[in-house]
């Protein structure tokens, strides 16, 4: 039962990663690409980590995985913001 649930979570995570990657390749400009990549990948990683944590059934490993997710969330949100701001500054020429 737990195995099935964790497989579903991991597959859902992989789906979001796939969607994010397709978005990165297919969307027209930098902002929409950033949007697709960070949002989809953060959700994908969250689902992936939830699936792996469920599979491990070990509280310490779950906590470590949660920490990894939080660190990636903060880092990816910040880097997306920095990239977008730099691009905006170059556009407006200020």
């Amino acid at each position: 039962m737990i195995n099935i649930l964790s497989s579903i979570l991991i597959l859902a995570g992989v789906f979001f990663y796939l969607a994010g990657s397709i978005g990165l390749l297919r969307l027209p400009d930098l902002y929409s690409r950033l949007h697709a990549l960070t949002k989809a990948d953060n959700l994908g990683l969250g689902l992936l980590i939830a699936g792996v944590a469920l599979h491990s059934q070990d509280l310490l490993i779950m906590l470590k995985l949660l920490l990894i997710w939080l660190a990636v969330l903060a880092a990816s949100a910040t880097s997306a913001h920095l990239i977008a701001r730099q691009a905006r500054r170059q556009e407006t020429g200020s």
């Binding site: 660190a71 903060a74 880092a75 910040t78 913001h81 920095l82 701001r85």
Partner: protein, 333 residues
């Protein structure tokens, strides 16, 4: 997990390693090449993990992908960006182009011959000697090494001489960096979002470094991985526009730079005077000595890596230096 799906995973891993290496070498844009190199390092770290070598995986991810990537990117940013393709001048006459082609093929041929020779030598070694000799020797003597992680036992005890020489190489590198003169003044101060990240990321990085140093005695970790974490904290501070980037100044900086080699030599010669072989720790003291040497080595490694990222002597920011700078601005001072 069954073997067939693992085989597919390994195949994909190998393909992406070779593909990323090729892409990184084939692109003409230096920055793109560096980014691809970082991706290559991360996938390589996964491969080391698959080979059940978590120590090497950690080092590859932290130093190979992370810090080398940052160093290469910092170096690439100093290069002028290549002109877009439409504005590049047409190729010169065919004579030099022909020489270029011949040269490229000669280099390719030489590299292939070298790779073939290395592969042959590796195969020869693997087939002629029993390759479980070293692990056997280490596990037989692990109890006397002072640590329970065989990799740390090898690096800091059985082959401590090699690690001492590695640290000496790093010290030589940092002396070379110092001869490049003063580092660039750095980046503009970070905005509120990045600053918010830096405020909690840097303490977490320092904590992780301490953890990796301590855990190295009985699990994957150690001075090199911990030093890379500390250096990452320095790189983040530098990118966020902090001028001090956590480095001490003047004499203290030189002391920290030389601490790894210095403490190693001090311990080695003290043991020599006490009638033991050079770096032959007495088993009762081995654990403590290794932790002390690793702590000093971590500080030296981190300082070296941060100074390499700076690409020069750090700017002095003390009271005296500030007074000097003001003097430069006021002619009659």
């Amino acid at each position: 997990m069954n073997t067939a799906s693992l085989l597919v995973f390994d195949g994909l891993l190998l393909l992406s390693i070779v593909g990323l290496a090729w892409a990184s070498l084939a692109t003409t844009d230096v920055r793109r090449s560096v980014i691809l190199f970082m991706a290559f390092g991360l996938v390589l770290a996964v491969a080391w993990g698959r080979l059940l070598a978590p120590d090497v995986a950690l080092a590859e991810a932290a130093i190979g992908a992370g810090l080398s990537g940052a160093l290469l990117l910092a170096a690439a940013l100093r290069q002028p960006r290549p002109l877009p393709p439409e504005s590049t001048p047409p190729p010169r006459n065919h004579g030099t182009a022909g020489v270029g082609v011949v040269l490229r093929w000669a280099v390719t041929l030489l590299c292939t011959a070298l790779a073939g020779t290395l592969a042959w030598a590796l195969l020869h070694v693997f087939s002629s000697t029993p390759h479980d000799m070293l692990p056997g020797a280490i596990s037989a003597n692990l109890a006397a090494s002072g640590v329970s992680n065989p990799v740390t036992a090898l690096l800091l005890n059985f082959r401590a001489y090699d690690t001492l020489l590695e640290l000496a190489v790093l010290l030589t590198a940092v002396l070379g960096i110092f001869t490049l003169g003063q580092a660039n003044p750095g980046y503009q101060p970070a905005g509120p979002v990045f600053d918010g990240l830096v405020r909690w990321l840097v303490p977490v990085l320092i904590l992780t470094a301490g953890y990796l140093l301590w855990v190295g005695a009985h699990a994957p970790g150690g001075a090199f991985q911990a030093g890379a974490m500390l250096a990452a904290a320095g790189v983040v501070l530098r990118l966020a526009g902090q001028s001090r980037i956590g480095l001490p100044q003047g004499f203290m900086l030189r002391l920290v730079m030389a601490a790894g080699v210095g403490l190693f030599l001090l311990v080695g010669f003290t043991l020599l005077i006490l009638g033991r072989p050079f770096l032959g720790y007495p088993p009762a003291w081995a654990g403590t000595l290794i932790l002390m040497i690793e702590t000093a080595a971590m500080l030296s490694i981190a300082t070296t890596l941060v100074l390499a990222f700076l690409g020069g002597r750090p700017e002095a920011t003390g009271v005296k230096a500030a007074a000097n700078r003001q003097c430069e601005q006021i002619p009659r001072c």
